[in-house]
């Protein structure tokens, strides 16, 4: 499993953990029936499922692995944001187990790949730059 997969899986697991905590919290609140709250919960689930759908293809190519990594990061980011918005506090996000290229670098390299046909790094993230 590449570093990208590892970090992506960690972020996706964190997003799911925060979502579960959020659902537990909200189910004890009358706000669970408010349209804005329901829509926010729906948006988080959509980001989590998008990352999950990309995980299923992450082994097919390096560009697919980066796509999954970026989607997982977004799901984790949104989970923290929605939890703070609705529960009024934050849950700690685990530190990365292994170093990986910055997300914005991965985003740029993915763009360079599509725009210019630039080769992407191996599964360990080597060559992605840091």
């Amino acid at each position: 499993m590449s570093n990208l997969h590892s970090q992506g899986r960690s972020d996706l697991a964190h997003a799911r953990h925060v979502e579960a905590a959020l659902l537990d919290y909200l189910r004890a609140q009358s706000a669970r029936h408010e349209a804005l709250v329901i829509a926010a919960v729906g948006e988080l689930r959509i980001r989590i499922d998008a990352a999950d759908a990309l995980l299923a293809h992450a082994d097919e190519s390096q560009s697919a692995a980066i796509a999954f990594r970026l989607a997982a990061a977004e799901s984790a980011r949104l989970a923290g944001h929605v939890y703070f918005e609705l529960a009024g506090r934050s849950l700690p996000r685990p530190l990365p187990e292994n170093p990986e290229p910055a997300l914005l670098t991965q985003r740029r390299l993915l763009g360079d790949h599509y725009l210019n046909g630039a080769a992407l790094a191996d599964g360990q993230g080597n060559g992605l730059g840091r």
């Binding site: 659902l23 909200l26 189910r27 669970r32 029936h33 349209a35 709250v37 329901i38 829509a39 926010a40 919960v41 729906g42 948006e43 689930r45 959509i46 499922d49 998008a50 990352a51 759908a53 990309l54 299923a56 293809h57 560009s63 697919a64 980066i66 796509a67 970026l70 989607a71 914005l104 991965q106 985003r107 740029r108 390299l109 993915l110 763009g111 360079d112 790949h113 599509y114 725009l115 210019n116």
Partner: protein, 410 residues
Amino acid sequence: MTHSLSSDLPQQTSPAPRSPAHIIRSDAEAIEVAQRLAEDFAREAALRDRERRLPWEELERFSASGLWAIRVPKAYGGAEVSYATLSEVIAIISAADPSLGQLPQNHFGVLSNLSLTGSEEQKRRYYAKVLQGYRFGNAFSEARSQYVTTFQTQIRFDGDTAVLNGEKAYCTGALFAHIVPVAGVDEVGHVHIALVPRDAAGLTVIDSWDGFGQRITASGQVRIEGVRVPASDVVPAWKAYDQPTSDGPISQIIQAAVDTGIARGAFAETLRVARQARPWVDSGLQHGWQDPLGQALIGELAWRLQAAEAILRRAAHAVDRAVAEPSEERVAEASVIVGQAKVLSTEISLEASSRLLELGGTRSVSASQGLDRFWRNARTHTLHDPVRWKYHLVGNQLLNGIKPQRHSWN
């Protein structure tokens, strides 16, 4: 049977196909035919949009290719392709010209309803027509009702005849159709679909669509004034929502496929214009394609498009499961995942079509290129139903265990 057309119909109008359609035999053939047609349709897509040149000839090639019949069940001589294949076909065509991708949307919706509520005799008769190349249009949305699900057009049964009266709007496909399905409500509130020949007396299709996007869909009005059809040409559409069926998710996934196609087309054009753009003066670069900030924007589009496509495939498999086993659980699952596909395809179609112009720079707004059509088409088509309520649909099932309501917008 001989048909005579009234003089106020466009000369291209026909109540029957000009020649028999090819019959597609497999999912793989459907994809191959779609790819070939898409190359053809892409050539003059900008010109058709700019001149609002209605796609009569393109539609003839489209339905003659056999693609409009790919959901006809195998038992009736069709390929009965999966919804994964149908979604991909619609996305491929929509990447080339999303008006052409949208035009069969209601045709496939009607085929679904026919399979669920039609009699055996109706299925035999209409599937045979579709295999010959007949196109269904639609006269569903009411011009003045409070909710999209509220029907005002009346259908009254008089012995063996049904009589319809009403006024419809957003009738995509009606102008070009051989048969115009008209939704009407009976005395007890049940909605039926009457399959009305395009040249029927009292049926007037008005080419009044002036939307700034999806310009050649001709999604205008239909007036229905005392239209009479045999009762045997009416299907009890209401039964598709009286119990759990896949009718709603099927209608919606085709919408998501159109928007995914728009996003694909916009992304491909973004790459083309970004390769040609000049570098910004402060960048110190020789070429625009070296711009790291532009590359990052393209990377962002790339993964979001991949996500939308992955969820569209997942949604299509959920629809296939709901078709095979139309339980309450399966249908709700399909509605929820298709709702996710609607959200992601809406977002990426709008973002990609906007970034296309940003990364192309000022030269990309030249009207001669017509690159604004991607955003106009995305913005127009994604208004079909408000995607903000899809977040709600997904969240309500998750948080409160409330399944989506059953109608053709879910």
